[in-house]
């Protein structure tokens, strides 16, 4: 059993390596800017969803307020850069650190809540932060922040002529999020989290410090999501409260993991690779008229997948493997 698990982990790692190499080569053949843009977003959502999955999937604390950390990352980077000239790389780390600390500070009272009370608390906290930023004049209030373009440079993490640097950064981010998850899966934390998810009372009685486990998951998850937010701010070079901290973002972050397979290593990647291109394509082909066809397609898909495959799309692959054996 143990060797089987070790084998699977090694296979996962090799597969991830191969996929990364293939993904890294794709831009050499695909020069279309529109398609590259979709690829960047897909990788970003894969990274975000993978990070969300750590707290909500593995540890079972369903957060529908992760837009808070995404927005914190975006705003920290943008404010430090525009107001104090701090380079985005430092802003990224600062945003991550601030988010991790805030996640633990909020976790302190929130992790006592269970079920829907917890979910609603996460939504409500993100919503309070959104309203406060919308009314914070120094941070641009509802109008947001325009990040001035100072030319192409890795130092300032700004690229106007090509999307490729963003693509490779997003790929690196997705890899990091995946590797962190891969590593945590087989660590003490990983086992604790699954125990907390399945039965917190039993876990507690067996010596798992439930509260600390949740805090750890929240900090890691928030840090990575905030880095994603920093990246997004640089990528779009304009942010406003609604577009980085709105409720929609919390859902968009959760959906790939949910549809791909919540609490699984490959679910978020698979979900993002299918969902994000589909969303973007339906939006540009049928949604341009503003008639909501993209929403109809997207919503129907969510209903059908969640009803037909409660374990997510990864279950299709594992079923086939079971059958082959």
């Amino acid at each position: 059993m143990d060797t089987h698990f070790a084998q699977r982990r090694r296979r996962d790692l090799i597969m991830a390596g191969c996929l990364t190499v293939i993904a890294a080569l794709v831009p050499l053949f695909v020069k279309d800017v529109y398609v590259q843009n979709i690829m960047v977003l897909t990788l970003m959502y894969a990274a975000l969803s993978q990070s969300w999955n750590i707290l909500s999937g593995y540890c079972g604390q369903i957060s529908l307020g992760h837009a808070l950390y995404f927005g914190l990352g975006a705003y920290t980077t943008a404010l430090l850069f525009t107001k104090f000239g701090v380079l985005p790389w430092f802003g990224m780390l600062a945003g991550g650190a601030i988010s991790a600390v805030i996640a633990m500070a909020l976790g302190y009272p929130c992790f006592r809540l269970r079920g829907h009370y917890f979910v609603i608390a996460t939504i409500v906290i993100a919503e309070i932060a959104l309203l406060l930023i919308q009314n914070w004049d120094w941070a641009g209030a509802a109008l947001g922040i325009d990040i001035p373009v100072r030319g192409d440079s890795w130092l300032k993490f700004q690229f106007t002529r090509s999307k490729l640097p963003y693509f490779y950064f997003a790929l690196a981010l997705a890899c990091i999020a995946w590797l962190v998850t891969w590593w945590l899966e087989d660590s003490k934390w990983g086992y604790w989290w699954r125990a907390v998810k399945d039965n917190p009372d039993a876990a507690e009685s067996l010596g798992v410090v439930v509260f600390n486990s949740k805090m750890g998951a929240a900090a890691v998850s928030a840090f990575l999501v905030a880095v994603g937010g920093s990246f997004y701010a640089q990528f779009v070079s304009y942010i406003d409260p609604e577009s980085v901290m709105g409720f929609q973002f919390s859902l968009l972050m959760a959906l790939p993991a949910v549809l791909g397979g919540i609490g699984t290593l490959w679910g978020p990647v698979l979900g993002a690779v299918i969902l994000i291109p589909l969303t973007e394509l339906t939006r540009s082909f049928v949604g341009g008229s503003g008639r909501g066809v993209d929403l109809i397609v997207y919503g129907t898909l969510i209903v059908l997948i969640s009803l037909a495959l409660p374990r997510g799309l990864v279950s299709v692959f594992s079923l086939r493997k079971e059958a082959a054996r």
Binding site: I62, R112, G115, E127, L131, I262, R291, G299, G312
Partner: protein, 292 residues
């Protein structure tokens, strides 16, 4: 700030709060019955408001007369949603909570998309109605008539709901199914039928609320989203599993919102509601009257 302005805003807050209670009643009823949170609840409200608007625009039916028709239409709609979507969601063998959240949430997106497709994203309003724009003055306090009637409808609806749950066979079947869905099958109650009727009833209540909201609020495809979060907070404040908790929750939400609007800029009025929610669940993790 005079005592008069404070009383004035608390009075309108109370009326709005009773309406919030009515909006949330269906959500609380459905949750109490089968532990499912309907994430399309705001969209149920949205189609009720559209139905009211179109009855007014094409048949010149006043929203007050339309209310029972809209409630009846929503009853059918709610039952159909249960039979087509939710029935399968509650059967999920894995990740049951997730499946319920995201299947109803997907439905919400579809409904919003359909509303945009058929009705366009334009803001519409019921331009003139029996109550629209009128106020009554009671002891120097001005109360807007639509909200006043809405509050009365809410109180009547909750009283009716009380008698319905405690005094009728169907109400008893609801209670019994809620307590033990397996055992009721033994005495010949069809669980699916009870759930479908429960969803119908929950949707009819929000239909009633939508008809009244349409008198004084704009109707547009995303209108539900603004009220859905308030409805969830209302139900959770009262405590999941308690229909009458939603009534108390609504009153608290309305009063807190009015108080916040006195102190903070209007754009921050929801912050008060959310903060009070957090405060209450941090002290009482099951809400005020919750059973779980």
């Amino acid at each position: 700030m005079t005592a008069e302005t404070i009383i004035q805003s608390l009075a309108s807050g109370l009326l709005m709060g009773l309406l919030y209670g009515l909006i949330a009643a269906g959500l609380a009823l459905i949750f109490g019955l089968m532990d499912v949170v309907n994430f399309a609840h705001g969209e149920f409200l949205m189609i009720a408001m559209y139905a009211t608007f179109f009855l007014f625009a094409y048949f010149a039916i006043d929203p007050l007369l339309a209310a029972p028709l809209v409630a009846a239409a929503l009853f059918v709609f709610g039952a159909v949603v249960y039979l087509l979507v939710v029935r399968f969601a509650v059967r999920a063998k894995a990740n049951a909570g997730m499946v319920q959240i995201f299947s109803t949430f997907g439905l919400a997106i579809v409904m919003r998309g359909l509303a945009q497709f058929f009705f366009t994203p334009d803001y519409r309003s019921v331009t003139h109605s029996w109550l629209g724009g009128k106020t009554v003055s009671v002891a120097g306090i001005y109360l807007p008539e639509p909200q006043l009637v809405g509050a009365l409808v809410s109180v009547v609806a909750f009283i009716a709901l009380y008698f319905f749950i405690h005094r009728t066979d169907f109400g008893r079947a609801l209670e019994a199914t809620r307590e033990d869905a397996g055992a009721v099958a033994l005495v010949g109650i069809d669980k699916n039928k009870v759930f479908a009727l429960g969803w119908g009833l929950g949707a009819a209540l929000v239909g009633l609320a939508g008809a009244i909201m349409a008198i004084f609020f704009y109707v547009y495809p995303d209108v539900g989203a603004s009220f859905a979060l308030i409805a969830y907070v209302t139900v959770a404040l009262g405590g999941f599993g308690s229909v009458f908790g939603a009534f108390a929750g609504g009153i608290i939400v309305g009063l807190v919102e009015a108080t916040t609007a006195l102190i903070l800029p209007p754009s921050l009025k929801s912050v008060g509601i959310y903060a009070v929610y957090l405060l209450i669940v941090f002290i009482r993790p099951r809400g005020l009257f919750g059973s779980m």
